[in-house]
Structures are given as structure tokens and as C-alpha cells.
Amino acid sequence: MSINPDLAGRVYPAQEPYAVGREKIREFAAAVKATHRAHYDLDAAAELGHGDLLAPPTFAIIVAQRADALLVNDPDSGIDFSRVVHADQRFTHHRPIVAGDQLVAELHVDTVRAMGGGAMISTRAEIATTDGQKVATTVSSILVRGEDQ
């Protein structure tokens, strides 16, 4: 099955909120070998002016990849996940993510470019709190390899 060229411009609305938990921040920080105390210790986070544990700079990938899954798992997209390669990633933080945040992501399919038998697909997740405060914009491109690539 080939990539649906009409994917560009599609918007997948926000799903259930993602609740940012202290233990997930600690777990994710340990997994990327982030050592700053503000990821682990409330007093250290407070010293930097944060009301709760501070998420590492790439933590938003959890929320972004959940949003990307809406596209990848959409039977209409024609994307075979086993042929997906992560090509690029960007995080723009409008404010830091802290424990206690309730985050929702709206996924925009910005561009779809045919490449050989496959395609390069760029998506953008607009991440906000459930009460509408902008938190982060993430942009990523995935390369879906064709059958002969």
C-alpha cells in the first residue's frame, strides 16, 4: 500500500489529556541520563522557580509520539510502521513542562513528499494544557521507506 497523498493538511484533534506525573519525569530523566536535580527533587525545581518537578528538554516526545500515532495508525494513511525511520525532530517550548500538567496535542500533517516508493511526512503537534495555555510545538519528519528501500 502506498502513502495517501491527501494526508497533507489533515488535522487530528486532541485526544484524552496526558497527565504529567512526577514518577514519569524521574523515569524519563533517568532514561536519557539527565542528572539535573530539578527533574528529581522538588526543592531543586523550586529553586529555579518551578512549582513542581521539571521535565527534561525532550520529554514532550511522549505526548508528540502519541499524537503521531493517530496518523501512523490511521488505516487511511497507508503508513507501514515497520518501515518508518525518524528523520528529524524539533521542540519549541513556550513554557517548561512540569509535573501536574494536563497536556493535549493537536496533530497537523504539514507536508507529504513522495520519495522513491516511499514518502517523507512532516507533522507538527501543538501541545497545550487542557485550559488552553500553549506549552510546546513539536515538529518531526518521518521517512516511510518504500518496498525497495
Binding site: 536519557v32 539527565a34 530539578a38 529555579l48 521539571l54 528538554p57 525532550t58 516526545i61 515497520s82
Partner: protein, 146 residues
């Protein structure tokens, strides 16, 4: 605290090495929710044409920014961070070792000031991230609010 006015373009902020073994990849898979088997199953990785199990690009991206955090002393000051993933980071499974104790693949990270914005008071740190002399990330740039 970093004094913005003393910074110069081209200035080095330091360098570090991060090691990644198979156990680290399992830990990152669980923490991030990215369970793509190319990051933990040798047979599957080989069948899809990879040399073997490779690290999550997002592990490398996430681990590389520690250098910037150490410099800025506040992870919340990193307002923008981007990269392209150019080469896979292979993670071997050496015989005779407990995978949790294996030394793992060395990822070398070095940072320099790539740009300064005096109005916004931001510094862009450009990271060079390589494995055995080959760049695995390109255009790895973190913008720090000072």
C-alpha cells in the same frame, strides 16, 4: 550564572561522552513508550535491513542535550532544540556480559556557541554528536534563554 555579555560566537561550552548499552535502550523504550523492536530485538532489526539493534534517535537527542543543561544550569532555559538523525547508533550485545553491565556504545558530544541574539538574550549551542568519528546527528542546535 552565565553572563550573556561575555559570550562569543565560536566559544566552546565543553564536551562529554555518553555510553549506551542494550539495557539503556530497554529503559528508554519503557520511559518513552517507543517500543519499536528495532531498538531491542536483533532478529527484527536485521530483518528490516539494519546492521543490528540501534539506539532510539530520541535517546541520542535526549542524552546529548545534557551538555547544554550542564552549561546553562537550568533545563527549563532550553527553549528550542532540534536535530536531524543522519546515521544509526548501533548498540552491540557482546557475548559473555550481562547486558546491563556492558560498556556500550560511546556517543561523543561537543558544543560551541553558534549564534547569539542580544535582543532576545538567547544563545544557540551547536552540538557535534558522533560515534567512532561519524556524525550521528546533524544540525543539532539548542537555543538557551539567558
Amino acid at each position: 550564572m552565565i553572563d550573556f555579555d561575555t559570550l562569543e560566537k565560536g566559544q566552546q561550552i565543553g564536551s562529554t561522552t555518553v555510553f549506551v548499552n542494550r539495557a539503556d535502550l530497554v529503559r528508554y523504550a519503557g520511559a518513552s513508550g517507543d517500543f519499536n523492536p528495532i531498538h531491542w530485538n536483533e532478529r527484527f532489526a536485521t530483518e528490516v535491513g539494519l546492521p543490528g539493534v540501534i539506539a532510539h534517535g530520541m535517546f541520542t537527542m535526549g542524552a546529548a542535550v545534557q551538555l547544554v543543561t550542564d552549561w546553562a544550569q537550568d533545563p527549563g532555559a532550553i527553549v528550542d532544540y532540534q536535530t536531524r538523525f543522519t546515521k544509526p547508533v548501533p548498540v552491540a550485545d557482546p557475548a559473555g556480559t550481562n547486558p546491563s553491565d556492558a560498556a556500550g556504545t560511546a556517543i561523543e558530544i561537543a558544543g560551541t556557541i553558534g549564534a547569539l541574539d542580544a535582543e532576545a538574550r538567547t544563545a544557540r549551542v551547536d552540538l557535534v554528536v558522533s560515534v567512532e568519528g561519524t556524525k550521528v546527528l546533524i544540525k543539532a542546535q539548542a537555543v538557551v534563554q539567558l
